[in-house]
Symmetry: C2
Subunit: 346 residues, 2 copies
């Protein structure tokens, strides 16, 4: 356990990371893997003092494949019950923290598992999925991604999906979603929405980052925006801890600290080929590196001040240094997410 975790203030928090997608179950290139969870990655959550983490179950897959991906987590919850438990309600963060475990919120970075079948939303809700990003990196049945040529907005099927997610209590994530589709979704949704992992466009011009209009709309819905130290989303590779924390503080000043959180986009254990596969999937025959900076192929080195969940105490120190008070920092590090999850999941 790092020195900072011994800090009494940090220890009192229910820290929540709103997005991680590490190679917990072995490379998709490796058919021979046993799909046993990599416990060293779970141990990092414990070492970093995380009460909860939102994990990506899929980027692209259809319903059948996602059922398989969910069952890998069921096995992990059973075999690694000393380190993790499933997160089905906001109160699970509290329970996990008391048990020195990390509550794992299962989410999709795509609505592809719902295919074109409205009945599949409830199927995956019952299987434990509590978050779905409306689109990953291409147009789908629900709406347009932030990379699409034209953002046509939320489709008719998309409206049905939003209604169904509202009814069931599944959090709508807009991180990779196009601006018009996002604004349509916010307008159509009767419940708060989230951006689990993106930064303000004013900090770094990147298709994945969000305009002030959108950030304000998410806050107005009662939602939370998760800021990310993922290098491409910071626009350059040499952003300092202080600069990043100042970005978080600036966002808090614009939309209210109670609407700001952290979603690191931590992605450990993947090869460069995995990254290419994540972005090209099966939809293109051209190279596509997704959120990478222009000319950048393969993973870029993480910044020195955030390499894994172990470094959350460093983020805490940084946020306090830029002048955010203890209540604001507690909210940003996890309590805002806990409030939102309690609202949505009950």
């Amino acid at each position: 356990m790092s020195v900072a975790v011994e800090d009494g203030f940090y220890q009192s928090l229910k820290v929540f990371d709103a997005l991680q997608y590490s190679n917990w179950f072995g490379s998709p290139q490796n058919d021979a893997v046993s799909y046993r969870v990599d416990r060293t990655l779970l141990q990092q959550w414990r070492d970093g003092g995380l009460a909860g983490v939102h994990v990506t179950v899929t980027l692209w897959d259809d319903a059948r494949t996602c059922v398989d991906r969910v069952t890998r987590w069921y096995r992990a919850f059973q075999e690694s019950a000393d380190l993790i438990q499933i997160c089905l309600a906001g109160a699970d963060l509290e329970r996990a923290k008391r048990a020195s475990r990390t509550a794992v919120l299962l989410g999709f970075q795509n609505t592809s598992p719902f295919e074109d079948d409205i009945g599949l939303v409830e199927v995956f809700y019952r299987l434990g999925i509590r978050v779905a990003q409306l689109t990953y990196n291409i147009q789908n049945f629900v709406g347009s991604s932030c990379y699409e040529i034209v953002d046509g907005g939320l489709t008719r099927f998309g409206r049905a999906v939003v209604n169904e997610m509202n009814r069931l209590g599944m959090l709508i994530d807009l991180s990779h979603v196009g601006e018009k589709t996002s604004l349509d979704a916010i307008e159509h949704s009767s419940r708060p929405v989230a951006v689990t992992h993106a930064n303000p466009l004013s900090f770094a011009r990147h298709p994945r980052n969000k305009s002030e209009t959108l950030l304000r709309a998410v806050a107005r819905s009662g939602g939370v925006v998760g800021c990310s130290p993922y290098p491409p989303l910071m626009g350059r590779l040499d952003v300092t801890l202080e600069e990043w924390c100042q970005m978080v503080a600036d966002l808090a000043a614009v939309i209210g600290a109670e609407h700001v959180g952290i979603g690191t986009d931590t992605s450990l254990g993947w090869t460069d080929a995995d990254l290419l596969a994540m972005n090209v999937a099966r939809w293109s025959r051209s190279e596509n590196w997704g959120s990478n900076l222009p000319g950048q192929t393969g993973w870029c080195e993480p910044v020195a001040w955030y390499r894994s969940s172990n470094d959350f105490p460093t983020l805490c120190r940084g946020l306090r240094k830029v002048g955010l008070d203890e209540k604001e920092v507690a909210g940003i590090l996890g309590h805002n997410w806990q409030r939102l999850l309690t609202t949505i999941l009950g």
Copy 2:
């Protein structure tokens, strides 16, 4: 055989219907069907003197289900070789006619079988699929339907699909596709495209019908537009044979008779519940009757002058009566489609 089929001119033609979707293999509601083809429907093609027909293999299904649907046709080609054969090239119309059979062109009314996987285009090409409509009635990975709230145009994946269809020799069908997506596809395609079953918007204001801009663009690509006697696409239920034939002649005057054909949208053997299932599929929980006229639920009665393929000779007579010459009528009844299929399929 009807009297008109004994007409020497009609008998000399290679008649082609560019769209039929009848209940050849039993209702989707009936899990107990043996998926044996209904020979009475194939016999109508022979009685009507059809050299070829483009049949819809699917409206909505994914890859796995469509493989099953294709194999039903394989079985039919084997067991009903006296009546039908597969159509894989333009010359198959000639061959089929000589053998007194009907050449069956297998097509999709959706790109849903390609899912988000560009490799599946060639898979289905190799399985014998030679036509794909870019969208059915909702937004998909490729583009927007004519019913979508916003038509965002051809997506990035859509461009890849068009390229791949061009490379392989698969005909692009724009019948249910939105106007912007259609115009984008025509611009992006290096090969002629088709509208297999729709009428001019100037004849009947209906979301499924086509603007003069689009009709001219299809013709400019070298493609063909299939006019339909399907009542909803004629805008009212009492359109006469003469009015419909005049519509065809008027279209020929605008875009050239060599770019006009027939695509009847013949749909026999379905229940009203089947029609609802075709339109709602799994994407909505609201009633949706697709192309039906406002307030119309269930199938509407066909017009008296076109009830099934048996009535093609009646269409021939009607087209000659409105002043189209023999060459124009021969083109419209099938030779224009044959030319296009020869261009695309080789």
